[in-house]
């Protein structure tokens, strides 16, 4: 068991952070080969829809609130949909191509649930 000393959680956060607040984000997680899209800073439970799609449900809310989603196996998926794993891509474009190539209930759910906010926030993923 580690002993907590002066470097406690609040001090750790203060040490690293600049004044600011969470904004919706999308990024490529190279260790897990997936795109992570998070719309709120909250605790969430992941729901695996299939091999490629996971939806995030916010915890500690009385109503079911979607906190984001993950797209998994990105290098394989991008090969299939004809996108390079380089440069910058908008989430809207990625999801449009996913629905076109894999028009199942999971990809349609992602499009229906998240497309408005992805457009509003103009979220992009960088592979640079």
């Amino acid at each position: 068991m580690n002993t907590f000393t002066k470097a406690n959680l609040e001090e750790f956060v203060t040490f690293f952070s600049k004044k600011g607040e969470f904004r919706p984000i999308a990024y490529y997680d190279k260790h897990m080969d997936c795109i992570r899209v998070q719309l709120f800073d909250c605790s969430f439970t992941e729901e695996r829809m299939n091999k490629f799609v996971t939806v995030l449900h916010a915890n500690h809310h009385e109503i079911d609130k979607f906190a984001g989603f993950n797209l998994k196996g990105i290098r394989y998926l991008f090969e299939q949909i004809g996108l390079p794993v380089s440069g910058v891509h908008t989430l809207v474009k990625i999801i449009d191509l996913l629905v076109k190539h894999f028009p199942d209930s999971s990809t349609l759910k992602i499009k229906n649930l998240f497309e408005p906010i992805l457009r509003q926030e103009n979220l992009e993923v960088s592979f640079q």
Binding site: M1, N2, T3, F4, T5, K6, A7, N8, L9, E10, F12, V13, T14, F16, S17, K18, K19, G20, E21, F22, R23, I25, Y27, D29, K30, H31, M32, D33, Q38, D41, C42, S43, F44, T45, E46, E47, R48, K51, F52, N59, H60, K72, G73, I74, R75, Y76, L77
Partner: protein
């Protein structure tokens, strides 16, 4: 970093790491050591994913020794470290903590404790340290990711549909 930090972080090559104990991936060892670079947790802070930081500090940093199950390999495409079979280097540790934590406010806010989400397990994803064993001989794995997942109804403290998610279960604490 202050002198006190020396007791919290461990330093390799001048870089600071969180190091925690947990059940071993190696059958001849009881306990292994798993690490996360302080810089990597700092990336979460830079994105203001402060709930994830609170969960790391409160649920993982005290140790992974209460892990109930370990699963090996993911049943999905995972290209990592120049191989298409990147999932074979990955392990999922699952257990059921009593509490969850989230971050209230901006970066000068505070962690808030809640009862764990019902019917959920906490899962920590770890990459076995194979490539960097020369440089980090005492580290057995790297902490990649953590989150809550719905619990399997047939196997307590395991993620829902673990048979579909992972190649195999390699450890269960009795």
């Amino acid at each position: 970093m202050s002198d006190d930090d020396q007791q919290v972080f461990q330093f390799f090559d001048g870089k600071a790491y969180f190091v925690v104990d947990g059940p071993s991936l190696d059958p001849i060892k009881q306990v292994s050591r798993y690490a996360l670079a302080v810089h990597d947790l700092g990336i979460y802070i830079n994105r203001y994913q402060l709930t994830a930081v609170a969960q790391f500090y409160k649920l993982i940093f005290p140790g992974l020794i209460l892990t109930r199950h370990i699963f090996h390999g993911f049943n999905r495409c995972l290209y990592c470290d120049d191989t298409r079979e990147g999932d074979l280097n990955k392990y999922a540790f699952s257990w059921k903590p009593a509490y969850d934590y989230w971050w209230k406010g901006d970066s000068s806010g505070i962690p808030v404790r809640e009862l764990a989400p019902p019917n959920s397990v906490f899962v920590v994803l770890i990459s076995k340290n194979e490539k960097h064993k020369d440089k980090f001989p005492s580290i057995d794995g790297w902490i990649d990711r953590w989150c809550w997942v719905a619990e399997d109804s047939a196997l307590p403290e395991a993620p829902l549909s673990w048979i579909d998610r992972y190649n195999k279960k390699v450890f269960t604490r009795n």
